[in-house]
Every structure is written in structure tokens, then in C-alpha cells.
């Protein structure tokens, strides 16, 4: 299945195991390694292309020459130990890092061919083409209804029929409609944590984004709410291109089509989820996804 030039199953080759742990050691020592990108990733059409992207916080480099295409209409999971730059990468996609004064970048990202970091790119227009859900639910201090249609409101949409329709569709999409349909006018701050997070997802999909960015959407939720959000991601699969950061390997293996393993700001291995979890090319990827390291 994998068309990677590397040996099909590294577990059968003790020599490659030795060189595999070396890679992380090389990275930890500040060296550069070639990422293992499976051929199948390259073959799917990409909604978002990240091309030799580097990012510095002041003098500290947080992303090292990341090159990865994000396949169109699929769910792509970003995994890796804490502090490896997953959130940074996600926030670079919709240029939220512009708000951090010390950030400097080189390299390129393209959304459906449009250069994201181009001088002529309007950041506001760019962000309208993406939806983002954060680690902690961050509903706005307004009614449930207004939260969902926020993106339309700031675009100046005021036709009640349009707003109503979008509100219902998004809430249904986020599997929240039945729980809140009778209290749309109430403050969103009165919802439970899980409901708030699904509300944030509804808000993110209201404007029909080209890419949906989810940064550990379940980390602040209890198992039941997590289950609901996971089901939701399953349903979004195929409808949206999703880039999701997660620490939960089961979540990644269950709900994503592709998985990328990052370490200390580098991309280490990137391939179809089934391959990454059952027969990764690199030993250290296997060690990480099976929980033996990280």
C-alpha cells in the first residue's frame, strides 16, 4: 500500500531502528533531517500547501522548514509531544501569529493556490476562508444565535432569513441544534463546556470555510463531550478539509485520514493514518504513536 521507498516494515529491520532513534537525537542536537512523507499524501489534491515554512519567536525558532500538503476534503491529524509547534503551525495557517509582535517567518503557504503570506493577501479575507476552534471553548459574550452567525454579521449580513438558515444548519452540523433550539436568544456563556465547544465548531463552520483548523478541540472536555465532538468530526469528514491537533492517539487513529508526526518544530513522518499507526516507516513514529515515548 505504501509507496514509500523506505523498507515496508521497519520493525523487521533492527538496523533501521538504530538509525531511527538517531533521527530524534539529531533533531534534539539542532540538526536537520529529511521528513518521511509517504507517497500517497503527495498524490491527493491539496487544499493547503505548506512549503519550507520556518517560524521564529524572537530568536527562538519554533518551526523548521515544514513542507507538507494538506489533502482536500480529508481529516489530517497533527500529533507530537507538547511544545513541538503544532499550535504554532495551525496558527500560522490563518495568520493568527501576526498578532504576536516578535514572530518572523520565511517560506510559503498556499490556500487553494493563493499565497497566504503574500503582500497582497488581505488577512481578514483570508481568515474568512477558514474556521478555527481552540483548545479551550471561547464563546463570545453574546447570545447563542449571535455566536453562530458572528462571521456573517461582521460581513454585514442582516437578512433574518439567511441568518436563521445558517444558524440552524451550523448548529445541526455541530450536533447542538436539538439541545439549544429553544434557547437561541440566551447567553452562550450559560452553556456547559462541551456545548460551548460544539458551539465554537458551529461558529467555525457557519461561513463554510475551505479549511477547518481544530487545535485540541477535546482537551478541555469530559469523555462524553469528547465522544460527541469526535462523532462530529466523523460527520465533517468529506464535507470539509480538516486540520486537527490532538494528543489523543485513539482520536487521531479513529477520526483522521492522514497523520503527521512532529518533533521539536520538525515534521518527522507524514502519511495515511492507517499506515502511520500500523506500519510506520520510522521506528520513533511507532514509539510515539504506541505511547512508548513522548
Amino acid at each position: 500500500m505504501s509507496t514509500s521507498p523506505s523498507p515496508a516494515d521497519p520493525r523487521q529491520l533492527p538496523s533501521s531502528a538504530g538509525s531511527g532513534t538517531d533521527r530524534l537525537a539529531v533533531v534534539a542536537a539542532g540538526g536537520q533531517v529529511e521528513p518521511e512523507v509517504h507517497e500517497r499524501v503527495r498524490q491527493t489534491p491539496a487544499v493547503l500547501e505548506i512549503d519550507r515554512f520556518n517560524l521564529w519567536y524572537g530568536t527562538k525558532q519554533a518551526l523548521h522548514s515544514i513542507t507538507m500538503p494538506i489533502p482536500h476534503g480529508k481529516v489530517t491529524a497533527l500529533v507530537g509531544p507538547s511544545g513541538c509547534g503544532k499550535s504554532t503551525l495551525l496558527r500560522s495557517v490563518n495568520r493568527l501569529n501576526d498578532l504576536v509582535p516578535s514572530v518572523r517567518i520565511t517560506g510559503e503557504m498556499r490556500l487553494n493556490g493563493d499565497p497566504i503570506y503574500d503582500q497582497r493577501m488581505d488577512v481578514i479575507e483570508l481568515r474568512k476562508r477558514m474556521g478555527m476552534v481552540f483548545q479551550r471553548p471561547n464563546p463570545f459574550p453574546m447570545s447563542i444565535y449571535e455566536n453562530v452567525v458572528y462571521a456573517l454579521r461582521i460581513d454585514g449580513e442582516s437578512r433574518r432569513a439567511v441568518l436563521d438558515e445558517v444558524c440552524e444548519r451550523s448548529l445541526r452540523g455541530a450536533a447542538l441544534w436539538d439541545e439549544v433550539k429553544d434557547r437561541l436568544g440566551e447567553s452562550a456563556l450559560g452553556l456547559s463546556g462541551g456545548q460551548q465547544q460544539r458551539l465554537c465548531i458551529a461558529r467555525a463552520i457557519a461561513a463554510e470555510p475551505e479549511v477547518l483548523l481544530l487545535d485540541e478541540p477535546c482537551s478541555a472536555l469530559d469523555p462524553i463531550a469528547t465522544g460527541k465532538v469526535e462523532d462530529l468530526i466523523q460527520e465533517l469528514r468529506g464535507l470539509y478539509s480538516v486540520l486537527i491537533v490532538t494528543h489523543n492517539m485513539q482520536q487521531a487513529s479513529r477520526s483522521s485520514d492522514y497523520t503527521a508526526f512532529m518533533y521539536l518544530g520538525r515534521l518527522i513522518e507524514y502519511g495515511p493514518t492507517t499506515d502511520i499507526f500500523t506500519k510506520p516507516v520510522l521506528r520513533e513514529t511507532e514509539a510515539y504513536v504506541t505511547g512508548r515515548f513522548g
Binding site: 490563518n94 481568515r127 478555527m132 481552540f134 459574550p141 453574546m142 456563556l189 452553556l191
Partner: protein, 551 residues
């Protein structure tokens, strides 16, 4: 046997610090002390302020030298040698030259509370105390004998009082209205002369119009004169004759009597009636007798109008300034310097703000406005319109004074808005201003309200700067009233806090004014509390709406 090396030794000091008992006592003690002082001050003000209008009994005091005095005991103290003495409000200033008198206990031979002893509040001259003997109408004696005369007085007085009120209303309201009309016509003439020249057709037309207005005003004046003369004639001659304690006989015109009561005879309900009526006068009428009696209505009105206008001015100003400082300005030495400057503004003595307000707002700004828009008034009678103290300038001065409070509170509130909300908004494609408008400001609103509440409390209680920029001892024309254009921001006004100073320390009869000072203070505190309660209620609603977070 050696002790376990892993076991750490704990000092008693550490244990005490860990359990924190000492801190509980210290913090709790400080709070208790603060509360005791606050409750002490407020309790004293309230108890004194509330008691002022309660009709207290008056006593007939007989002295060793044979003198008799009728008066209300208002205070008592003990001399170092142990003898007591009392302060008695003897009133009848025109007869004795005193309002109050001290008597040693040794001098007093007897005190009684005669039922017919009467207290009279007059329009002028302070209180009068005596025994009614006859009700007179011109040369005619309508009723003789204490009880009869008192009954007759109770019957006649309301009518007299009503007529007096109507005449007063005509003098103050209607005549003032006519004068204003006349002045407006006069100013139109000056305006026409200024813009088109004295001999121009416009000037001639204005002059003709003025003549017409003058004729009409004169006709109306005559009608008013007739009416007031008629009213006064109705009151003419009505008088109540009193005998004072020493035995002098005095006739008080009924029209001069505001209110009279026989405190020793009153039932509790009647006492309550007098109490309520005196509060009614206090809250609803104009002041009398150099502000030491009567009402404080213009001052209540002025205080509330000024405080609200101040809040309306300072709120947008302070919030916008804080918004720029917190949301737009880049962090650096400049913003730090600005912030320090703002904090220091809060320490500038308020009289300095008053001087600035007078110099800049009244003379520079107001003077320019007068030059530009109110030239006729300047030319006609040299009278400044905006170029002197007034409600607008006072409100602006206080807005400046309270600006630091609002800016600091707003900045705090803005920085308390979670960054995650801002990022969420940006991620939706909102611009900076949209984020501020729709997310940051609503969320910060309760905190901004807190700043505004503090500012209002501070501003409403300020006296020193107000004396320079428009508060007057007496200003009966309200800054907001029924005459076009309804709001008169240029008018001078009265203010409760200034009234406290004026009545308490500038009054010719300070002993008599003392209870009044307490009542005014009580009223001011109550008004500020009321404004605050309203603001806190609004804040609570906002907080429920925008801030409460449920987990």
C-alpha cells in the same frame, strides 16, 4: 536512636504562617475597623439628618432672675466643675438679638411644657416662639383667646398661603418669562444692527418688532400687577397676635408665616404630619433665609443634572482614551509615560482643576463661543453667556477631574478580557475594530461601569472646583426647565455639596443652620447612593449577560 533524616523539621513559625490564622485576624480586623468608621460616619449623618425636621417639644424656662424664656432644648453639656448647662433655641431674634442661649442648670428654677406654646416658621427673621392670643383682620378682631385664635389661624392660613404662593409664582415665573421675551427682542435689535447696520431695513424691522413686544409685555405686566395686587389685598391685614414668654405682644402677618405648630400638644400622627410637610418643603421648594431654611430643590436638581452630564461626558472620553492606550498604542516608553501621567492627574488638587476650568473652559472656550454666537448679548449689556461659570463648564471640569478614574478602570477592564475571545473573533475574520466593538467592549462593560460609579461618587461630592466654575449660593433658575430650549447649559446652578459648605460655614446663623447641614449631607449621600445603586444594578445585569461563565 537517631531521627529519620528524611523527616523535615518544622518550626512553629512556619506552622502559624501555613495555617494563616494571623492573617485572617489581621485582614478581618482591618475590614472591621474600616466598617466601624464608615458606619460611624454614615450613622451619625443619618441620625442627625433624619431628626432635623421632627417637631420637638418646647419648654417654658423660668430663671432665678425672674426671666421667662420659651425655647427648644437643642444641646447639653457639662462644665469642668460638674455643673450642667443647656443650649436653648430661644428664637425671636428681632426681640432678643439672639437665636440661641446657654443656661446653667443653677439658673433654672422651673421648666414646664405649656400646651399652647407655638413655633412659627417665617419667611424672614428665623423662628418665632410664643403664645397665640388673637386673630386679627385689619382693625377687626376675628378671634380672641389662645384656643380660638389658634383654630381661626388654622382655618385661614391655608388660603392666605395659597394666595401667597400664586403671587410668588407669578413674580418668579411669569414675570421672568416676560423679561426674557423682552431681552430676546432687544438682542434681536442689536443683532440686526451688528450685521446690517442701524439704519438698515432689517434693523428697522427688528426695532419695530421690539416695540411691539415691549407694548405686549407691558400690557401683560399690567395684568400680572393687577392679579398680584388682588392676591396681596386678600392677604392684607390678616395677622396673628402672640404674647412672648416675657410678656411682649407681637403681631405676625399671616402671609409671612410658612408653618406653625404647637409641639407640646401634637399627637404622634400630627407630629408625623408636620415632619412630612417639612420634608416636603425641604425637597420641593426654593431656599429661604440665606439657604438656612426652606428647601433645596434647585440644589438637588443641579447636583443630579451636573453628575449625569459629567458621567455622559467622561464615559465616552475616558473609554475611548483607554481603548487607544490598551488596544492600539504599541507598548513602549511613550505609553508608559502617558499612563504615569494619567495616574498622576488623579493626585492633582481639585481646586487646580477648578482654576483650569475657569481659565480655559469659561474664559477661553466660553469667551470664544460668546464672541462667535452670542455677540449681541455682549454688546447689549456686556453680559457673558457661556463666558462665565455654568452647568456645562462645571460638568466638563469634573469630567476632567474624574477622567483618570475612568481611564484606569477601563484599562483594567479591557486587559481582563480573555485573549482567547479576541483570537476567536480574529479567527472568524473580524477586523480589530469589529473585535473591539462586538467582543471586547461588551465584555469589559461591567468593569467600565465600576469606573463610572467611582467617578460619579467622586464628582458628586466635589466642592472646591465647583465654586470657580458655576455653582452659586443662590440660583433659582433651573438649568433644565420648561422654557425653550429646555436645557440651559450656560446657567449657573446650585449644588448640595456647595450648600453644605455655604450653610455650614458661611451662614450668619450657623447654630440654627447646623441641623440643616446634616440634612443636606444626608440628602447628598442618599442621592449618590441612589445613583450608585442604579449603576450597580445596571452593572449586575451586564455582568450576567456578558461575563458569567459556567463550567
Amino acid at each position: 536512636m537517631s531521627s529519620d533524616p528524611l523527616r523535615r523539621r518544622r518550626s512553629t513559625h512556619a506552622a502559624l504562617a501555613a495555617h494563616g490564622e494571623a492573617w485572617v485576624w489581621l485582614t478581618g480586623g482591618c475590614l472591621a475597623l474600616a466598617m466601624a468608621m464608615i458606619i460611624g460616619v454614615l450613622g451619625y449623618i443619618v441620625s442627625e439628618g433624619v431628626a432635623t425636621f421632627w417637631p420637638r417639644p418646647i419648654e417654658l424656662i423660668e430663671l432665678t432672675d425672674g426671666r421667662k424664656v420659651l425655647g427648644e432644648e437643642t444641646g447639653r453639656d457639662t462644665a469642668p466643675d460638674g455643673t450642667g448647662r443647656r443650649l436653648v433655641r430661644t428664637a425671636n431674634f428681632e426681640l432678643t438679638g439672639k437665636h440661641f442661649e446657654w443656661f446653667d442648670d443653677g439658673e433654672v428654677t422651673a421648666t414646664t411644657r405649656p400646651a399652647e406654646a407655638t413655633v412659627v416658621e417665617r419667611l424672614e427673621g428665623g423662628r418665632f416662639q410664643g403664645f397665640p392670643t388673637r386673630l386679627l383682620h385689619g382693625d377687626e378682631v376675628v378671634a380672641t383667646g389662645g384656643e380660638e385664635a389658634w383654630r381661626g389661624f388654622r382655618e385661614k392660613h391655608p388660603d392666605v398661603r395659597r394666595r401667597w404662593r400664586e403671587a410668588w409664582r407669578i413674580d418668579k415665573g411669569d414675570r421672568g418669562e416676560l423679561q426674557r421675551k423682552l431681552r430676546a427682542a432687544r438682542l434681536a435689535v442689536v443683532q440686526a444692527e451688528l450685521s446690517a447696520g442701524a439704519d438698515s431695513p432689517a434693523g428697522a424691522a427688528a426695532a419695530a418688532a421690539e416695540k411691539a413686544v415691549a407694548a405686549e409685555v407691558e400690557a401683560q405686566e399690567r395684568r400680572l400687577d393687577e392679579r398680584t395686587a388682588e392676591l396681596r389685598a386678600g392677604n392684607e391685614g390678616w395677622g396673628l397676635e402672640f404674647t412672648t414668654a416675657p410678656g411682649e405682644s407681637v403681631v405676625l402677618p399671616l402671609a409671612d408665616i410658612v408653618r406653625a405648630w404647637q409641639p407640646n400638644k401634637l399627637s404622634f400622627a400630627e407630629r408625623l404630619g408636620v415632619y412630612a410637610s417639612r420634608w416636603g418643603e425641604f425637597l420641593g421648594d426654593d431656599p429661604r433665609e440665606a439657604n438656612s431654611a426652606g428647601g433645596v430643590f434647585p440644589a438637588i436638581w443641579g447636583t443630579i443634572a451636573m453628575t449625569l452630564i459629567m458621567a455622559l461626558l467622561v464615559a465616552p472620553f475616558g473609554v475611548l482614551a483607554a481603548l487607544y492606550l490598551r488596544e492600539y498604542a504599541s507598548r513602549g516608553p511613550m505609553t508608559a509615560a502617558v499612563r504615569i501621567a494619567i495616574n498622576n492627574l488623579a493626585g492633582v488638587p481639585s481646586i487646580v482643576y477648578g482654576a483650569f476650568g475657569l481659565g480655559f473652559f469659561c474664559y477661553v472656550l466660553g469667551g470664544s463661543i460668546d464672541e462667535l454666537l452670542f455677540r449681541p448679548a455682549l454688546v447689549a449689556d456686556g453680559q457673558p453667556t457661556f463666558g462665565t461659570g455654568g452647568l456645562l463648564w462645571a460638568s466638563l471640569t469634573l469630567a476632567l477631574l474624574t477622567l483618570p478614574v475612568v481611564i484606569v478602570a477601563t484599562e483594567e477592564a479591557l486587559s481582563a478580557v480573555p485573549n482567547s475571545m479576541r483570537e476567536g473573533s480574529y479567527a472568524c475574520g473580524a477586523s480589530k475594530w469589529q473585535t473591539i466593538r462586538r467582543i471586547v467592549l461588551p465584555r469589559a462593560l461591567p468593569g467600565i461601569m465600576t469606573g463610572l460609579i467611582l467617578a460619579m461618587a467622586r464628582g458628586a461630592g466635589e466642592v472646591a472646583p465647583l465654586m470657580l466654575v458655576g455653582v452659586k449660593k443662590l440660583a433659582l433658575d433651573l438649568p433644565i426647565d420648561g422654557t425653550f430650549p429646555f436645557v440651559h447649559p450656560e446657567r449657573e446652578f446650585m449644588h448640595l455639596a456647595y450648600l453644605i459648605y455655604d450653610v455650614g460655614f458661611q451662614s450668619p446663623n450657623s447654630q440654627a443652620a447646623k441641623p440643616m447641614v446634616f440634612t443636606i449631607t444626608f440628602l447628598l449621600v442618599a442621592i449618590i447612593a441612589l445613583l450608585n445603586v442604579a449603576a450597580i444594578w445596571i452593572r449586575g445585569r451586564l455582568r450576567r449577560r456578558y461575563v458569567s461563565q459556567q463550567f
